[in-house]
Amino acid sequence: MPVLTILVGLPALGALLVALLPKRLARPAALGASLATLGLALAAWARFDPTVPGAFALQDGPWPWIRDLGVSWALGLDGVGLVLVLVTAVLVPTALASDRTPGRAPAALLLLCESAVLGCFTALDLVLFYAFFEAMLLPVLLVLALWGGPGRLRAAVRVLLYTLAGSLPLLAAVAATWVHHRSATGVPSALLADLLATPVPTSWAPWLFAGFALAFAVKSAAVPLHGWLPDAYAEAPVGALVVLAGLLAKAGLFGFLRWALPLFPEAAIRAGPVLLALGALGVIYGGLMAWVQQDLKRVVAWTSVSHLALCLVGIGAGTPDALAGSAWLAAVHGLYVGALFLLVDLLEARSGRRGVDDFGGLGAMLPRFSFLLGLTVLAAIAVPGLAGFPGEILVIIGTWRVAPVAAVAGASGAVLGAVYLLRVLEKVCFGRPSETARVLVDLRPAPTLPLAVLGLLLVGLGVRPLVNVVTPATDRVAAALETARTVEAP
């Protein structure tokens, strides 16, 4: 049974259903479709056996799709893809359950986006990947532009322009990679396995790597290409926001691990210092920005920039532990950033405010809310025993051997994280209740459930991290880089 194809197709089918059903059934149908997708993702996990030799434990295809161009429908799941698929499948239902945008269109669009994201994490054909990579943004962009806050148009245009700037070089690099393979073998193909068999000559590999890297860096908001992120995060309605912050930004990091590093290992090694420098810069830059924000959503947005930058540090380091840490952090980052945005949105929905100084004393007024916020913040600042820790520590330890300065920046990011997130906790939950805080009532079961699920995951994945699921995949990438390094050395 083509599990992965069904997995990718199911949310899109759900979107179609939502569009056709009467309005009052639309929300439950959307939630149902996303929950069914979650069930399927869990089934894929159950069937996933990391000990299977070969890169991809689960695989659909390849089935020819565009014969003349040699493009196939090929999906596959390795460990990195699996954890990201699972996070996607968990986050979309929570986003749908918490979203407050009217009508059925936003729900349908979010489901469409989920299909594209899942496709992006599983595609084994470069052209197919490119299609998903581009497609996943459009639905979210529409939700942002139509249902976002007052500055939505500005934010949406900004996202579009940044994305285009990354997409065009990526398209060129994808085409060039494809052309190279055809001219080398005479057979057109864009399958990952085929492309790996025909390495691009070192003379132009750096340019192709740069094309990939640019698109991926824009997507993962690497400083200084992060300009699209703060406004978009501040304006997007919460459903789109969770998807955007929790999932889409990960596609860039995933792109490095699945495509850019394995296809161009020599170029990746030479670009390593650049990625390390950009990552280290981003960790500090994002942390300092988060510290001085007055808008809770922007604090979380800059938290996200800082933590994604730490993932980029790990990718730049390219050691097995740093890569595994990067992949793990990218996955769990979706959970805690998603939870943080949901919590801030709850406050905004109840009080119409989201300033850092608007609240206070919620610990006494809203104990359940405060407990969840506290737990999520602790997970976000990588307190061991919670989900954020293994990723952060692996990146720092793995990076030290290659670039101690970048590791120091990563560790400083951990200190800054405590500074800016505990500031939020102190202002919002501690102290005496403000006028705004007095009228709030604590969480009722309905909004608590998705948050409680995320909270449980943050604890569970901290106690029992699935790092061993991602390591076979990241170890392969690290090995490819190591081979390239030893070839280059003499």
Partner: protein, 646 residues
């Protein structure tokens, strides 16, 4: 019993914390207190059993391996707990003191406004105990780090227990952030160790020791860096210079918290780390010297600062920093056993002093020594307990502090300068003298609060009464420990067959077995005791009858006194040197760059774009859009350039 029982040591208190967190407000104060006290008592039982088991074959090692926690590349975190006489005795101390303090808490946290939320207090205390026991028993450095950060988190939660007061909330955050600075250093130290050991990398403490014993050259170039990073990490948790500033502020928390976390256990975590990793420090004389110097300096500096505060608990906080400084001095001069001895005795008498102070605070509802006095007649049991703690910390012959302090100071005197990277400079003698002066300061500031609080005339309002038995009983047990704790490791010059701790824990602490100085050691100890008594006598004349001002010790040097009374203005200095520049960088540097950088570049280039006439779309002619386009183009060009150049 089975070895796997070791897991119940952190497990039981952790279980209690989870139960209480789930029960929440449904848990009555009595249930919450019994849950926390019961789990602590259970842990104490297991700890005693473990200690007995490890002692049966002196130096036996019990280990429970639950497999790999997570691993990637050379980095492997293993879920392994192990007990030898060293870790087991520490676990007994932690669980025992923890249990007594929880017993005390049951009487202390009985204010009507605290009762509904008391589950939170006991859950955090239980979580703390679990984390501390994990830290003590962890065989793997990443597992140790779990406990290390766990105690930090609990400390943050408990300092901010009365979180509606902004002062408490700020103190809690300060404690967490300062500790985090040390934690970051520990992470980097681990990264360094993994990197230096290369293919033989391990984070298991015994394996690392074996690897380094076999081939010390692995750490040849970086032993000093590793040692200094570990020291910096330890100064955070153990409140030493330069990261001590959080501890005095932490005294706003409930007194049992101060006793358990900020006196007896959590603050020993830094020293514990250095004791466990003595084999890393031993590879670098410079790092050892740095530990000794930091310890001596902290002992002296905190001793000076302790003379002035009006807040009873603040004096005890500075005293803790000072005593831990002596402990660090011991570690630095390679006297691990003496340091560990002092760690244990300090835990007993400092917990006792804090709880006695807590009994006073509970009766008076404030912590200001200016409004105390004459409590000896009104609270005789509390006074007796405080007096025992006082004699122990001052080092009255026969009391526990006398033996442990003497052991540390003598070890400093006996150390060789080359062993602590001082060349021919007689650094050890100097450090011993500094420690001696710090010990005299101990006598001074402790006498001050003893006389101000318990003797003379009562200066407060109301009629304070002796605390209830639930508060007094833990005081009596701790008094016994503070009095007889010295029996753990009697020095050779006493002439009795002793040195139990040296024989049991010494082999796990490395270093050379302490040379027994006989007459010199005895003279040092008794000399210090005599000098201390002289100080006490002077202080008694100074303070017993003084009823208003308490600053008279500084009347001769008003400027210096003001400076020290203000904590040496260190907080202000850190604020000016670290916090404000960083925030300034964030506010006017990074944030301004973010806000205007793209825009300004955009304006300059908008004209260019228009001149080229390439972008005619109506949307694209709006200013910001062009700015974004330019921002993208610049960013892209930057990346491409870097990629091409590299």
């Amino acid at each position: 019993m089975d070895v796997a029982l070791l897991w119940t040591l952190p497990g039981l208190p952790l279980f209690g914390a989870i139960v209480l967190a789930i029960a929440g407000r449904r848990a009555s104060p009595a249930f919450a207190a019994s849950m926390a006290g019961g789990t602590a008592l259970g842990a104490l039982g297991v700890a005693i059993w473990t200690l007995a088991a490890t002692l049966r074959g002196m130096g036996a090692r019990l280990a429970v391996d639950l497999g790999t926690w997570f691993a990637a590349g050379p980095t492997r975190a293993s879920a392994v707990l192990a007990a030898d006489p060293l870790t087991a005795s520490m676990a007994v101390m932690v669980a025992g003191v923890g249990f007594l303090i929880l017993l005390f808490s049951a009487g202390y946290m009985d204010a009507p406004e605290d009762r509904p939320g008391s589950w939170r207090f006991y859950a955090c205390m239980d979580l703390f105990l679990g984390s501390m026991l994990l830290l003590v028993l962890a065989d793997d450095l990443l597992l140790l780090f779990v406990g290390w950060e766990g105690v930090g988190v609990c400390s943050w939660l408990l300092i901010g227990y009365w979180f509606q007061d902004p002062v408490h909330a700020a103190a809690a955050r300060k404690a967490f952030v300062v500790n985090r600075v040390g934690d970051a250093a520990l992470l980097l130290a681990l990264a360094l160790l993994v990197g230096a050991l290369g293919p033989r990398a391990t984070l298991r403490i015994p394996e690392m020791q074996a690897v380094l014993a076999e081939d010390p050259s692995l750490l040849a170039g970086s032993a000093t860096a590793a040692g200094l990073l570990l020291l910096f990490a330890a100064t955070g948790k153990s409140a030493q210079i330069p990261l001590y500033t959080w501890l005095p502020d932490a005294m706003v928390g409930p007194t049992p918290v101060s006793a358990l976390i900020h006196a007896a256990t959590m603050v020993t975590a830094g020293a514990w780390l250095l004791l466990r990793l003595h084999f890393v420090l031993a590879l670098s004389p410079v790092a050892l010297g740095a530990v000794a110097v930091v310890g001596a300096a902290s002992a002296l500096w905190a001793g000076l600062l302790a003379i002035f505060p009006h807040d009873l608990k603040r004096v005890l906080a500075y005293s803790t920093i000072s005593q831990l400084g002596l402990l660090f001095l011991g570690i630095g001069v390679g006297a691990g056993t003496a340091a560990y001895f002092h760690l244990l005795t300090h835990a007993f008498f400092k917990a006792l002093l804090f709880l006695a102070a807590g009994s006073v605070v509970h009766a008076l509802h404030h912590q200001d020594v200016r409004r105390m006095g004459g409590l000896a007649r009104r609270m005789p049991w509390t006074t007796a307990a405080f007096l025992v703690g006082f004699l122990a910390i001052v080092g009255f012959p026969g009391f526990s502090g006398f033996f442990s302090k003497d052991a540390v100071l003598f070890a400093a005197l006996a150390a060789r300068p080359t062993d602590i990277g001082a060349g021919t400079f007689p650094l050890p003698v100097l450090l011993c003298m500094v420690g001696f002066v710090a010990a005299l300061l101990t006598a001074l500031y402790m006498s001050r609060i003893l006389f101000l609080v318990f003797f003379g005339r009562y200066r407060g309002e109301g009629r304070p009464r002796e605390s209830r038995p639930v508060l007094v009983v833990p005081l009596l047990v701790l008094s016994a420990l503070a009095l007889f704790g010295g029996l753990l490791d009697l020095p050779a010059w006493i002439g009795v067959d002793s040195g139990w701790l040296t024989r049991a824990a010494g082999p796990h602490l490395g270093g050379t077995p302490p040379a027994h100085g006989g007459a010199v050691e005895a003279a040092l100890g008794l000399g210090l005791a005599l000098a201390s008594l002289a100080v006490v006598a002077w202080a008694g004349r100074r303070w017993v009858d003084r009823q208003d001002s308490t600053d008279s010790v500084g009347s001769a040097l008003p400027g210096t006194a003001r400076f020290l009374a203000a904590g040496g203005r260190v907080d202000g200095m850190y604020d000016a040197l670290v916090v404000r520049p960083l925030r300034g960088l964030a506010r006017s540097g990074v944030a301004r760059l973010e806000a205007s950088g793209v825009q300004r570049a955009g304006r300059a280039a908008a004209a260019l774009l228009e001149a080229a006439g390439a972008w005619n779309g109506r949307v694209l002619q709006r200013g910001p859009v062009q700015d974004y386009a330019l921002g993208i183009a610049l960013g892209a060009a930057f990346l491409l350039l870097l990629a091409a150049v590299s």
